[in-house]
Amino acid sequence: MDLLTNVAHGFAVALDPNNLFFCFIGCLAGTLIGVLPGLGPLAAIAFLLPTTLYIPVVPALIMLAGIYYGAMYGGSTTSILLNIPGEAASVVTCLDGYQMALQGRAGVALGISAIGSFVAGTVGVVILMVLAPPLAKLALKFGPPEYTSLLLLALIVIAWVGSGEPGKALMMVALGLALGLVGTDPITGNPRYTFGIRDLEDGIGIVPVAIGVFGISEVFLNVEVILQRQSLKTTFRKLLPSLREMRQCFLPMIRGSFLGFGVGILPGGNPIISSFLSYGVEKKVSAHPERFGHGAIEGVAGPEAANNAATSGAFVPLLSLGVPNNAVMALMLGAILIHGIIPGPSLITDKPQLFWGLLCSMYIGNAMLLALNLPLIGIWVRVLRIPYRILFPMILIFCLIGVYSINASIFEMFLVTLFGVFGYVMRKLDYEMAPLLMGVVLAPMFETALRQALLLSRGSFSIFVTRPISAFFLIASILFLVRSGISRVKKGKGDSRGSKRV
């Protein structure tokens, strides 16, 4: 009952015309930032932070939150239409979304990603309302040992993300892990594998790699085949998924939502991990895993739901503990603190209009985004009709601007170009880039967690099995390995690898 009155109160705050306006501004800005490759929510939120000094805290937060989850909506658009992730977390959407577009189902893919995002946003907000405080406590139980085991599971799952030869995928994972180790040793602070190049001391960023191997190389590949594929045959009539496709996607969206939310509340949890995990899980549970990578609609619905739910999840520790999980949440914390409000366990009782108002506005924002994005699909699809001689240079420029906007680093603009050429060559040789990117993402996280855990236990590996959450993930990893080992042996007896080839 109490919950209902709180929610009613929250909606009253969120529906205030002034707050609605800021919510709309945030969602619109977020969508646009998400659509532009590389340009992420962090830069946009930082840019708007000083203006929040002049507006009250509730509309300020509503607007900043709108940018964050709006970017997740927009990020999938270029993934699907151009095979270029608009935002790092949308990399996975390229795998099947772009294939769907090639089959003339771009509208359906955009539709399902908007719907998946909406479902996830809704699930996320509901979990937030009901469970935020206890969940935040639970998330704190995630220390280095738990993280190590979770990341081990993630490393095993990514072997299933690729759709080509498993051997080649593993080579790319290994290369990604090696690249991920470049930079400063997280424990001793010494630079390593930097060859004296100072710009490498912070490691090789996720965004330059992602934009390079997916975005830039995609343009190179397309320039080559330009004559064969003048434009994608997208029928405008089919912009919405059919009822059958909706049913097919229902469970993946729900699974993705919970998975994404779970990853989102973890300290340092990154939406990109949630979308990769969701893709791996969907491929694993699917009756026809061979469809993945060739336009499987579940491969779009699940990860899109997951990365959106992760953004709602990230609010749990911020609002109920006052602890930011990532850089975007640190900025949100700044916006709250500037107004003299202290987030923490007492925030919900002390400032109910802020807590419930923000949550309800996120719900309204999700509906707004759906209303905003579904009609836009027709316009986005039209982007494909822009002649390639105009479109491709534009994409290249946006990729470079996007990368520059993150750290204002010229070096990273060279890096993205280098990875573009590298990605082009490797993709010509049938190597996949998604496992490479996952390696780059996971290596530093895994190493830091592992070494911190061993410092905590003073060198004893027993810490990974004596802590229950960590033990759970280790068992899950083993089960995953054993089960896929069995299925591979079985399949190997039927047709050895025919279904694996592209």
């Binding site: 507006i55 914390l333 911190q452 410092l455």
Partner: protein
């Protein structure tokens, strides 16, 4: 209420635009500044230095008469952005907004950096200095620094604390306490104050040594307790805990924040920048922002800033040698 806020923002913009228009038709031999001044923050948005810089730049632009866009240039623990300013043209149009942190005063003593803190910069003014503190969970058995020290002395290596990286100011505080009190603690480096706090709240470590302003909300929310912090005297912004100094530990590892231009910037530009930032600093709204964000205000004029930073630089150099801190392990 939101609307009235918007209106005020609008009015300020009008003023800024008018000022900019006036300045865009400068007489021959125009005075500084004739174009926007870029303020580099060498950390990602949302960090402690960044939080304070944004409102200051926003307020100072009307005194300076040109916009002051902030450019976050994170990397190398602050070294990348610092180098950018060290190499910038000394014309006053590129300034460093977080001068005086560990990357300027401590790390030059630990490793070879491509800039020289004392000779590559022209300090302009100080804005704040804030302490590093030792924190335990509210339900921890140690209520005071003495109890903590006693326990740690009896159980060498058993007390684990999270800090923000090898050689960071927070780390130096813990190392100094270890040495002066004769303890052995187990340090766990993390990526930043937020992560260290997460580890403390989750019970993965017994203590955390982090910058105080970031964690103070948690003290007020009765989640964590501060045992001591590193300022020369108590600040009314942090009521309750003592300073290390009054507990008999004499080390001075706090984090200073000031503004600097590249060496060789004309005196006239330095003065104009100083006057604009000092006026913004004295505005009531900025003072209030510092209060709510828990950054103790610490203003020094250009001359005193130069002296202060040189003195701190020497002090950290000696302390690092005394403590035997290295990056190589």
């Amino acid at each position: 209420m939101g609307l009235s806020g918007k209106k005020r923002l609008g009015k300020e913009w009008v003023i800024v635009v008018i000022i900019c228009l006036g300045i865009s038709i400068p007489p021959a031999g125009a005075a500084f500044p004739e174009k926007p001044v870029t303020a580099i923050v060498a950390f990602a948005p949302g960090g402690a230095p960044d939080l304070l810089c944004r409102p200051l730049a926003d307020l100072a632009k009307k005194y300076l008469g040109v916009p002051i866009p902030i450019l976050n240039k994170p990397g190398g623990g602050g070294a990348t952005g610092t180098l950018e300013v060290a190499r910038a043209a000394p014309d006053g149009y590129t300034i460093l907004f977080n001068f005086g942190g560990g990357e300027h005063l401590v790390r030059p003593h630990l490793e070879k950096l491509p800039y020289d803190t004392l000779n590559d910069f022209q300090p302009i003014m100080m804005t704040s200095y804030y302490p590093s503190g030792l924190f335990v969970k509210e339900d921890s058995p140690w209520k005071t620094l003495e109890e903590f020290v006693q326990h740690a002395r009896k159980n060498p290596g058993a007390v684990r604390y999270a800090h923000t990286g090898q050689g960071a100011v927070n780390h130096l505080n813990a190392l100094s306490l270890e040495r002066e009190a004769g303890l052995t603690l187990t340090g766990i480096p993390t990526g930043g104050g937020g992560q260290a706090l997460n580890m403390l709240l989750g019970g993965h470590v017994e203590a955390a040594q982090v910058a105080v302003p970031v964690v103070w909300p948690q003290v007020e929310a009765k989640q964590v307790r501060c045992l001591a912090y590193s300022l020369p005297q108590r600040s009314e912004l942090y009521p309750g805990p003592p300073t290390y100094r009054e507990k008999g530990y004499d080390f001075r590892f706090w984090i200073s924040q000031g503004i600097a231009a590249p060496k060789g910037t004309p005196a006239e530009a330095v003065k104009k920048l100083h006057d604009a930032f000092a006026a913004a600093f004295n505005e009531k709204i900025f003072q209030q922002t510092m209060q709510t964000l828990r950054f103790p205000p610490y203003y020094l004029n250009t001359e005193d800033t130069v002296k202060y930073l040189a003195e701190m630089y020497q002090y950290y150099g000696q302390a690092v040698k005394k403590l035997g801190v290295t990056l190589k392990k």
